[in-house]
C-alpha cells in the first residue's frame, strides 16, 4: 500500500545521482509536492518533491549514488492533522491514500497499523495527549475523531486514518514526540463497520507480527565496535539484518558514507559548459559529519533560545603587568607558561558562582543549577571547532588551569580528544582575538546558557582619573539565553568578570 518513489529522469545524459541531503527524516509526515530530498548529478543539484502525502520511509542514504529509476524512498499513506500551526481550532486533513486500508479490510486480511503523531508545525517536537475519545478495543471508523492532542501552540483533533479496532499505546497526559506511536488499529475481516463486536479476538495475536521487534537496532559485536568508534548510536544506523539488527556493514556504511561519495564530489562540475570558455573554477566538497553537526547545532541554538549579547571592555594592563613580573618565575615553578586563559577561566569561574543562573541550563520544564564550574574552551582544531572542558575550574590553581589548557589544546590539535573530554561543560569561553577579532557575538554552546567571547587587545586612549591614557583594552562579549538569565544577571556577571580581570588581586582575596 506504500508508494515507492524512484529516482526521476533528470536529463538526457544523466544516468545516476547522488543523494546530497534528506530534507525530511525517516518517519516524517510529508505532503505531496513538499521537497523531501536534495539530489546531485554531475551537472546540477535538484530537489525531489514527495509524490503523495504520507509517512516517509527512506531507502537510499545520504551519500549513496543511485541509478535513474532506482528506489529512493517509499511513502506510506498516513492520516494526520495538517502541518499548519498555531490555529487553536480542530484541524483535519484527509490523507490522499485513505482508500488503501479499506481495500485491505475488504480483502479479509488482518493487519495492525500504527497511528503516529503527525507533524503539526515546524518548531513543535512533541505533543501531549489531552484526551482519548475512544477506548482500547473500541471499533473506530475512518476519519472518526479518536483523540485530542495539545502542543504548546495549539489543540487539535486526530482523526483515525484507518477503520478497525483501536489499541491505545500512549495514555492520556503523556508526552509523545512527533512520529511517536499513539495507538494501533487492527484492520481486517469484517471490522469496517463500527457495529462489529467480534473483532477483539483478532487483536490478541496480531500485534506481535508488525510491531518493531525487541532486537531492532541491536548491533552485532563487530558493528557495536565500529559504531562506538564512530560515535554513532543505534538510532543513527538503520539495521538491515534480521528483525532490524545492525550488521557490521550497516555500521561501516553509516560511518563511511561521506568518504564513499568522495569520488563523485571531485569530478569537476560541468555547470560552465555553455558559459564562457575561460576557466572559472569552483568546487564541491562534501560536508564532513562534524561540520554538519556544528551547522545543525548552531542553527538550533539560534532558533531555540532567546539569545542576545552584552558587551564590556577590560583594561588588561594589570594582568599584563602581573604577567611581566611573574612570567619567568611561574614557568620555573610550574613548568607551564602563564597565559591569559587562566585569568579568564578563573574570573569566569568566580563570577559563575556569584551568578549561578549563568552556570545553569534548561532541562525540560526545569532549570538545572550546578555547584561546580566546568568551563568549555573553544579550540580551533584541524577538523573544525571543538570545545574540550576544564572540569571543576573553581577548585583549580592558575597553574593547573594553564597545564590543563595546554594538554587539551594539544589533544585537540592531534584530534585525540575523547568524547568525555568534550561533553558536559557548564559555560564556554571562546577567543576570537587570536584571529584578530575586535568584537563579535558568540553563539551559546547548547545546552549551556552563556558564552564569553574574548577579543584582541588593542591599545586605546581611555580616560583615567580625568586624563587620557593609552591602555591595552579588550572588548568582551557575553551571549546569554534570556529565557533564564535576566539582564541584571548577565550584565552583572560580565561586570564582575571585568572587575576581577582589572584587579586580579580580587581573585586571590575572593572579593
Amino acid at each position: 500500500m506504500a508508494i515507492d518513489m524512484k529516482v526521476p529522469s533528470v536529463g538526457e545524459s544523466v544516468t545516476e545521482v547522488t543523494i546530497a541531503a534528506w530534507v525530511k527524516k525517516d518517519g516524517d509526515f510529508v505532503k505531496m509536492d513538499e521537497v523531501i530530498c536534495e539530489l546531485e548529478s554531475d551537472k546540477a543539484t535538484f530537489e525531489l518533491p514527495a509524490e503523495a502525502d504520507g509517512i516517509l520511509r527512506i531507502i537510499g542514504k545520504e551519500g549513496d549514488t543511485l541509478k535513474i529509476g532506482a528506489a529512493i524512498c517509499s511513502i506510506e499513506p498516513q492520516n494526520a492533522a495538517s502541518s499548519e500551526k498555531s490555529e487553536p481550532l480542530p484541524l483535519e486533513v484527509k490523507p490522499a491514500v485513505v482508500s488503501e486500508p479499506v481495500a485491505a479490510a475488504e480483502g479479509q486480511k488482518v493487519e495492525v497499523l500504527e497511528i503516529k503523531v503527525p507533524t503539526v508545525g515546524e518548531s513543535i517536537t512533541e505533543v501531549t495527549i489531552a484526551n482519548w475519545l475512544k477506548k482500547s478495543g473500541d471499533t473506530v471508523g475512518l476519519d472518526e475523531i479518536i483523540c485530542e492532542l495539545e502542543s504548546d501552540k495549539a489543540t487539535f483533533e486526530l482523526p483515525s486514518p484507518f477503520a478497525g479496532t483501536l489499541t491505545i499505546i500512549a495514555h492520556e497526559g503523556s508526552v509523545v514526540a512527533i512520529g511517536g506511536a499513539l495507538a494501533s488499529v487492527t484492520v481486517g475481516g469484517a471490522v469496517v463497520t463500527p457495529s462489529a463486536t467480534s473483532v477483539v479476538e483478532t487483536t490478541a495475536s496480531a500485534p506481535a507480527a508488525t510491531a518493531g521487534t525487541y532486537a531492532e537496532g541491536h548491533p552485532s559485536p563487530a558493528a557495536a565496535k565500529v559504531m562506538a568508534e564512530k560515535g554513532l548510536t543505534a538510532n543513527q544506523v538503520s539495521g538491515s539484518g534480521v528483525g532490524g539488527r545492525i550488521t557490521k556493514e550497516d555500521a561501516q556504511k553509516a560511518s563511511s558514507a561521506p568518504a564513499a561519495s568522495a569520488p563523485v564530489a571531485t569530478t569537476t562540475p560541468k555547470v560552465a559548459e555553455t558559459a564562457a570558455k575561460e576557466e572559472r573554477g569552483s568546487r564541491r566538497e562534501k560536508m564532513s559529519s562534524l561540520r554538519k553537526t556544528i551547522a545543525r547545532r548552531l542553527v538550533a541554538v539560534k532558533n531555540e533560545t532567546a539569545m542576545l549579547t552584552t558587551f564590556n571592555e577590560v583594561d588588561m594592563k594589570p594582568i599584563m603587568d602581573l604577567r611581566k613580573q611573574y612570567k619567568d618565575k611561574f614557568k620555573d615553578t610550574h613548568g607551564v607558561g602563564l597565559g591569559f586563559m587562566s585569568f579568564f577561566t578563573k574570573a569566569c569561574s568566580i563570577a559563575l558562582q556569584d551568578f549561578p543562573v549563568v552556570n545553569a541550563f534548561i532541562d525540560g520544564d526545569e532549570v538545572v543549577y550546578n555547584d561546580f564550574t566546568d568551563i568549555s574552551i573553544a579550540v580551533s582544531a584541524p577538523r573544525g571547532l571543538v570545545v574540550p572542558v576544564i572540569r571543576n575550574a573553581e577548585k583549580m590553581s592558575f597553574a593547573q588551569i594553564e597545564s590543563e589548557v595546554v594538554r587539551l589544546a594539544l589533544k585537540a590539535r592531534d584530534n585525540k580528544l575523547t568524547l568525555d573530554e568534550m561533553t558536559g561543560g557548564t559555560f564556554t569561553i571562546t577567543n576570537g582575538g587570536i584571529f584578530g577579532s575586535m568584537l563579535s557575538t558568540p553563539i551559546i554552546n547548547a545546552p549551556q546558557s552563556a558564552i564569553l567571547g574574548m577579543h584582541n587587545i588593542v591599545e586605546r586612549p581611555v580616560a583615567i582619573n580625568g586624563a587620557v591614557e593609552i591602555r591595552p583594552i579588550m572588548y568582551v562579549a557575553l551571549s546569554y539565553d534570556h529565557r533564564t538569565i535576566d539582564g541584571k544577571d548577565s550584565v552583572g556577571f560580565l561586570v564582575r568578570v571585568k572587575q576581577l580581570l582589572e584587579d586580579p588581586m580580587r581573585m586571590l582575596l575572593q572579593v
Binding site: T213, Y214, A215, P221, K225, E229, G241, V242, R245
Partner: protein, 466 residues
C-alpha cells in the same frame, strides 16, 4: 629499554594481550616468573586437567564400556605416572607453541619476577639473582590467581593438596576427599573417581557447581554418583589434619552435628584468589580491594591511568577465555579503539564427563530478577548420535523471554557440552529468539540437534523427538 607496553604475566590474558599489542604496532615486552609460558591455564589448570580427564575417560571406557561395543581387552590397568608424563608432554608442546608465537610477533620475553618500581618502570628479578629494569608507557597487570587456602586446612602439598599438586600425584589415591564441589573440585574429583579412587565431596553449599543453574548441579551429581562418589552438602569444614598415612577432615553439618571423614588425600578446591603478591603495587599506588585490582569498567584502567589489569586479578569470572577477551580489549583501548566485552555472554564450562556448559542467565537468576521466562529442555537420550556412542547422560535447557522469545540462558550437560555452548553464545550475541534456532538447520546426527529440539520445546513446546 623503553617499551610501549609491558605485560606482567604470560597466562591466557597476558600473552594474548601481548600479541594483540604487537599486532597494533606497539613495542611489547612480556614478563613471566616461571620458565614455562602460559600461566595457570596452560601449566596447572585447563590444559593439564583436560589431558588427565581424557586419559581417565579412556581408562573408564576400557573398563566399563568397551565390552558393550564388542571390544574385548585383558585386564586393564591405569598407570598414573604414565598419564602424568603424557600430560607433561602436552603442556610442554603448548609452552613451546606460545614461545613460538612470541617470537613470531617480535615480543621480548623477560623471564623473572616482575614488580613495580614506579608507574612506568618494572623490575625483573631473575633466577640467577640478577636484576633488570624496563620501562613501558603502558603496563598491563595479568598476574592471575592462586588457589585459596585457609590456615586450618594445613596445606602441605603432600597429602593436603590443591589442584596444582593433584595434577602430578605419584600414586592413585585410595580415598580422595575433595573440599569444595565447584568447577575445579568436580573436574579433578571425577578424574580420580574414574581411575578407581573412592571420592568424597564436601561442599558448603547445597549442591554441586552451586553457581550454575540448579538443574546442572543435580544432573552432574547423578552422573558422578554413578562413579561411586559420596557427597556431604551444607557441610562446613573446620579442620584438616595430615595423620601421616591418612588425612582427617573434621566438619559440621547443617544441624551442627560433627562429621569426620578419613581419606589418604585431601584436595582443597574452595576457590582462587587474585595474585598480586610482591608486585609492589604500593609503589605506584594502584588500589586493590581484597586482593582484586580495581579497574574502570569502561577501560580496565587502574586508578593509575597508564596501568591496566586483566583476567583473574580483576572482577568477574576467573576464566581463561574471559582473560583473553580482556587482553585484546586492553590492547585495543591503548590503541584508541573502542572495543566492548559482553560479560553476560562469557560461557562457563565444567570439564567433567558429561561436560557442563552454560551462558547467560540461570533459572534462579531470572526468578530473582522477576523476568517472565519460559523453559524448554531436551534429553540427550532421545538423540540418535548420543545413543549411537552410548553417551546418553544429560540435557539441554533453554530459557527464553516469555514475551519476546529472546534466548536469555542456555544450560547444557552432556557429551561435548563445552563445544555445543558456542552456538548459544553466537546466537545470543545477535539476540536470537528460541524460534530462530529452531528454524536453523542442524546437521544429523549430531549432539547439537539437542539444542534445536530444546529451542523448539521453549518456543511452543513442540520438540519433534520427544
Amino acid at each position: 629499554m623503553q617499551y610501549d607496553v609491558v605485560v606482567i604475566g604470560s597466562g591466557p590474558g597476558g600473552y594474548v594481550a601481548a600479541i594483540r599489542c604487537s599486532q597494533l604496532g606497539f613495542k611489547t615486552a612480556l614478563i613471566e616468573k616461571y620458565n614455562a609460558m602460559g600461566g595457570t591455564c596452560l601449566n596447572v589448570g585447563c590444559i593439564p586437567s583436560k589431558a588427565l580427564l581424557d586419559s581417565s575417560e579412556h581408562f573408564y571406557n576400557a573398563v566399563h564400556h568397551f565390552e558393550e561395543h564388542g571390544i574385548t581387552t585383558g585386564k586393564v590397568k591405569a598407570d598414573l605416572s604414565k598419564m602424568i608424563e603424557r600430560k607433561s608432554g602436552v603442556v610442554k608442546k603448548m609452552n613451546d607453541g606460545i614461545t613460538y608465537l612470541m617470537k613470531k610477533n617480535k615480543i621480548d620475553v623477560k623471564n623473572g619476577f616482575g614488580s613495580f618500581v614506579d608507574k612506568n618502570t618494572v623490575k625483573i628479578a631473575k633466577e640467577d639473582g640478577s636484576e633488570e629494569q624496563i620501562t613501558g608507557k603502558n603496563i598491563i597487570i595479568a598476574t592471575g590467581s592462586k588457589p585459596t587456602i585457609l590456615p586450618f586446612m594445613n596445606y602441605d602439598k603432600t597429602r593436603i593438596i590443591t589442584s596444582t599438586e593433584a595434577l602430578k600425584l605419584q600414586e592413585l589415591p585410595k580415598h580422595l576427599v575433595v573440599i569444595g564441589a565447584g568447577v575445579i573440585g568436580a573436574e579433578l574429583g571425577s578424574v580420580y573417581a574414574r581411575l578407581g579412587s573412592k571420592v568424597t565431596f564436601v561442599e558448603f553449599a547445597d549442591g554441586m557447581i552451586p553457581t550454575m543453574d540448579k538443574t546442572m548441579g543435580k544432573e552432574l551429581q547423578k552422573s558422578i554418583k554413578k562413579l561411586g562418589a559420596e557427597f556431604y552438602f551444607n557441610t562446613k569444614v573446620s579442620l584438616i589434619e595430615n595423620l601421616g598415612k591418612e588425612v582427617k577432615i573434621t566438619a559440621e553439618d547443617k544441624q551442627g552435628k560433627k562429621v569426620e571423614i578419613l581419606g589418604d588425600y585431601c584436595l582443597v578446591s574452595i576457590g582462587r584468589r587474585p595474585y598480586v603478591d610482591n608486585l609492589n603495587l604500593e609503589a605506584v599506588g594502584v588500589t586493590t580491594e581484597r586482593g582484586k585490582v580495581l579497574v574502570d569498567e569502561h577501560t580496565l584502567q587502574t586508578n593509575v591511568p597508564n596501568i591496566y589489569a586483566i583476567g583473574d586479578v580483576v572482577r568477574g569470572a576467573m576464566l581463561a577465555h574471559k582473560a583473553e577477551e580482556e587482553g585484546v580489549f586492553v590492547a585495543e583501548i591503548i590503541a584508541g579503539q573502542k572495543p566492548h566485552i559482553n560479560y553476560n555472554l562469557i560461557p562457563g564450562v565444567v570439564y567433567t564427563w558429561p561436560e557442563v556448559a552454560a551462558v547467560g542467565k540461570t533459572e534462579e537468576e531470572l526468578k530473582a530478577a522477576g523476568i517472565a521466562y519460559k523453559s524448554g529442555s531436551f534429553p540427550f537420550k532421545a538423540l540418535g548420535r548420543a545413543t549411537a556412542s552410548g553417551d546418553v547422560d544429560g540435557l539441554v535447557k533453554v530459557l527464553a523471554d516469555k514475551n519476546t522469545d529472546e534466548i536469555l540462558g542456555v544450560h547444557i550437560i552432556g557429551a561435548r557440552a563445552a563445544d555445543m555452548i558456542g552456538e548459544a553464545v553466537t546466537a545470543m550475541e545477535f539476540r536470537a529468539s528460541a524460534e530462530d534456532i529452531s528454524r536453523i538447520s542442524h546437521a544429523h546426527p549430531t549432539y547439537l540437534e539437542a539444542m534445536k529440539e530444546a529451542c523448539l520445546a521453549a518456543t511452543e513446546n513442540r520438540a519433534i523427538h520427544s
